[in-house]
């Protein structure tokens, strides 16, 4: 019962219409080739005249060049996600909150990694995106803490405490894994049983599958042993169930690629996968592209559900990643061809 009260009623018409209007303001696909032909100051200017105006203006006093763009993008992402939380009510609000915990996890990982390598607080804060439940002020105070114990105490009341309770400095991968698992198990539990929500569940499960496939590719390529790989995978996927994950993690590279053919994702990546592939960039870009296409496809099945909102959040994040890829690539003078391969459109 408490669960029902927390979710409240279904107030989708307002938020979905608003999100669709917001989606129409994202950068159109044609802009990216244009951005590729520009220098960084030109890109900053173009971005500063678009939806990012407020962020670029605000930060222009403190930063310049690439830093300015980088910070404006981060701030805009956080601002957009916070806006979604602000303008939604009841059930959509609850589901968006759960989805955005992704950024809490991201921030906690960033802070712990930074602390691990002794990075200064300011540098850590440059990389956080305050889009989740932990606001920028809380994150600042956490990033300024010296000892791991203080950080643990500060996160004592959050659901993430369970993952970091036993952390005492050192190797982070286990903690990061645990955080991911907490995130996805909460997300899966948050979604109810109605028709539209069943589709949302399918979407989240597909997202888990794609994440698992990426992890499998990376760990196989790095030559990790079976048990270590299985530890890194997230249970609860759509096609790759626990048994499949166990089997896949034990297969050697060539059999693993063959094993992938049994799943529907294979048709998406079959073109670029080969036994002697050296870079995973193409596979990951294709999987991201598939996730985006899938989200936008199912967002039309049940317009009055959380799906159009997931679709928008994914697209916004992708837009920011694309702009960042272009400017970073330009900065280190990568050839256009490689930058283009990294873009997900």
């Amino acid at each position: 019962m408490a669960f029902l009260i927390r979710r409240g009623s279904k107030k989708y018409p307002y938020i979905t219409a608003r999100v669709r209007a917001m989606k129409s303001k994202l950068l159109p696909r044609e802009v990216y080739p244009k951005l590729m032909n520009m220098d960084i100051p030109e890109i900053t200017r173009l971005i500063g005249e678009s939806e990012y105006k407020q962020d670029v203006d605000e930060l222009a006093q403190k930063y310049s060049g690439l830093d300015l763009l980088e910070h404006a993008l981060n701030q805009n992402l956080a601002r957009t996600y916070r806006k979604l939380l602000r303008v939604s009510q009841d059930e959509p609000n609850y589901l968006i909150t759960e989805y955005l915990r992704h950024w809490d996890i991201w921030n906690i990982k960033t802070i712990l990694r930074g602390k691990n390598y002794g990075a200064p607080a300011q540098e850590i804060l440059d990389a956080v995106v305050a889009a989740g439940q932990l606001g920028y002020r809380e994150l600042t105070s956490i990033a300024n803490m010296e000892s791991i114990d203080d950080i643990k105490t500060a996160l004592g009341n959050t659901p993430y405490y369970a993952a970091i309770a036993n952390y005492d400095g050192g190797e982070l991968s286990a903690i990061e894994n645990e955080l991911d698992k907490i995130y996805y198990s909460r997300l899966l539990a948050s979604i109810g049983k109605s028709k539209g929500e069943k589709l949302s569940l399918k979407y989240i499960k597909t997202e888990i599958d794609l994440k698992n496939i990426k992890t499998l590719f990376r760990t196989k390529k790095a030559g990790l042993v079976k048990d270590d790989i299985f530890e890194l995978l997230i249970p609860g996927g759509m096609e790759l169930k626990s048994g499949d994950l166990k089997r896949m993690s034990s297969l050697p590279w060539s059999d693993f690629l063959k094993g992938l053919e049994d799943y529907s994702y294979w048709s998406e990546i079959s073109e670029v996968v080969s036994e002697d592939m050296t870079s995973l960039m193409d596979v990951e870009a294709l999987l991201d592209k598939y996730a985006m296409g899938y989200a936008s496809r199912i967002s039309h099945y049940y317009p009055l559900s959380i799906l159009p909102i997931y679709d928008y959040m994914l697209r916004k994040n992708n837009e920011i990643n694309n702009i960042r890829t272009i400017v970073r690539g330009k900065k280190v003078k990568l050839p256009d061809e490689i930058i283009r391969k990294h873009l997900v459109m």
Binding site: K11, P13, Y14, T16, A17, R18, R20, A21, S24
Partner: protein, 90 residues
């Protein structure tokens, strides 16, 4: 012998009852369709305001789409009007 006055009174009563039932029907026609339009407009209105909050130029379209379910209540009104036409004059 049948009392002619009594019969007339009876007929009048029946006519009055019929008129009353027709009037109730007309009332239901307007009332129920009003509720139906309200239910339909609730979501459309909310969506229109949501879209307008992001893009002001959608005001015109939003307004038109919001009042489209108003046709339901117009049908109800027409039916009510036709029903009123057949109420026997007392």
């Amino acid at each position: 012998m049948v009392d002619i006055n009594l019969v007339e009174a009876g007929i009048e009563q029946i006519l009055a009852n019929q008129a009353g039932l027709i009037a109730i029907g007309a009332g239901l026609a307007v009332g129920l369709t009003g509720i139906a339009s309200a239910l339909a407009e609730k979501d459309i209105g909310a969506a229109a305001v949501g879209a307008m909050a992001e893009r002001e130029e959608l005001f015109g379209k939003g307004l038109i789409l919001t009042v489209i379910p108003e046709t339901i209540v117009i049908f109800g009104f027409v039916i009510a009007f036709m029903l009123f036409g057949i109420i026997p004059v007392l």
